[in-house]
Symmetry: C2
DNA sequence: CTTTTTCTGTTGCAAAAACAACAAATTATG
DNA sequence: CATAATTTGTTGTTTTTGCAACAGAAAAAG
């Protein structure tokens, strides 16, 4: 799948062209949005990176998704059950477009550029999200901490076209992303080093196998 | 999200209108398709139900997704890494539409109905897939077998608008879907009954809490 | 209708992961 | 730049999960 969505051009096209779209800027650690039932918000991250975080009743924190530039999020993509709080938190300075999804099919009277471009590119944007979600499911269904770590590292390595890469998370967050205990993960990372699978300096990892 | 995709009407519209689409029928347990890198197949299940199954190197079997009528699948939605075999298996008699996704933007000369309808409804079809995937991630990130089972049962209960519902899986398959050991799951099911959370007769479950 | 196969239900035991607690290092902040 | 806050790294202990093996029930096949 080749997503050729040109976000710069997209923004140029939409600005001042549709009053239903809002662009906002967020500082590091600010809450970008909280998922609310039936609102059907649809967001595009046009700069920075952010996490969708769930806090459950036992106090466990899970990083449900990690968003990079061009990723889409919002209630449109999520059955909000209201049992758990779902927040999108900025990991660094972020710029985000906000829109209510139901309005997408309501044609603008002036047939604005935003709608024209969005309706053309929407499937591509969403498809790239789907492949990310499937990747994540593949990781989560792995049966051991070791397999989760190696699976994740392999993915990053492939994505970076290099055996060496930087973790986009702190180790604490990585554990929350893989849905495992942090100390158990640290133990396994040590074993992976001792067994010669990886090298690790801070958050720089190198794969030594294959 | 309200998906109002009328599959019956869709099929009527497409039949004999686009030579690039194929409809095929499968018997129970037949392999509908095997995921192949870069082919970009795009399928719609128009009748029956089926599973996307992954067999990993340790011999573990995982039910990655469970498809019902109107669900979409194929390589378009999946980064096929070729490490694991990915098969879609019919759980009962199925009818499936096959298409190569890259052709969607290639306009038919005769501007066929299939393309017209598909390009309009594609976002809705895919969005319903995305919400399913997110639901699955929510289940898989739960930290204990108990929470996974209760989360899944709650979802089925909500979907059926009833505290009582039938499992769409055999118990063996349910374990493969939740990515847990079957005997450990059986043990936890017994505890859930003993602790008064559920009632269970065969594959009929009743939630007793809330 | 009988036989074979698959599925369900159980259990003891082994292995893995979670929990808890703390020191050291690093990073933010006034 | 000094201090507070967070993150990393470590380890002993407890709990949970997985594995293996088997008997009985149910379902599929001949």
């Amino acid at each position: 799948m080749n997503v050729n969505f040109d976000i710069e051009n997209f923004i140029k096209n939409f600005e001042n062209s549709c009053h239903r779209v809002q662009k906002k800027t967020f500082a590091k650690n600010e809450v970008i949005t909280s998922y609310i039932e039936k609102r059907n918000q649809f967001c595009i991250l046009i700069e920075g990176n952010a996490d969708l975080v769930r806090y459950d009743l036992n106090g466990n924190r899970t990083i449900v998704e990690h968003f990079l530039k061009n990723d889409v999020f919002g209630e449109v993509f999520y059955m909000v059950t209201t049992n758990n709080e779902l927040l999108v938190e900025a990991r660094e300075k972020c710029e985000v477009l906000f829109y209510i999804y139901d309005d997408i099919h309501t044609k603008c009277k002036n047939s604005c550029k935003f709608h024209q471009v969005l309706s053309e590119d929407l499937p591509e944007l969403i498809l790239s999200k789907v492949t990310n979600l499937n990747m994540r499911i593949e990781l989560l269904t792995k049966r051991s901490i070791r397999d989760k770590l190696l699976g994740y590292f392999t993915m990053l390595s492939t994505r970076n076209l290099s055996k060496t890469f930087l973790l986009p998370f702190s180790l604490t967050d990585l554990a929350d992303f893989l849905s495992i205990d942090r100390s158990a993960m640290m133990r396994e990372l040590k074993l992976l080093r001792e067994d010669g699978f990886i090298e690790k300096n801070g958050n720089r990892i190198t794969l030594l196998y294959k």
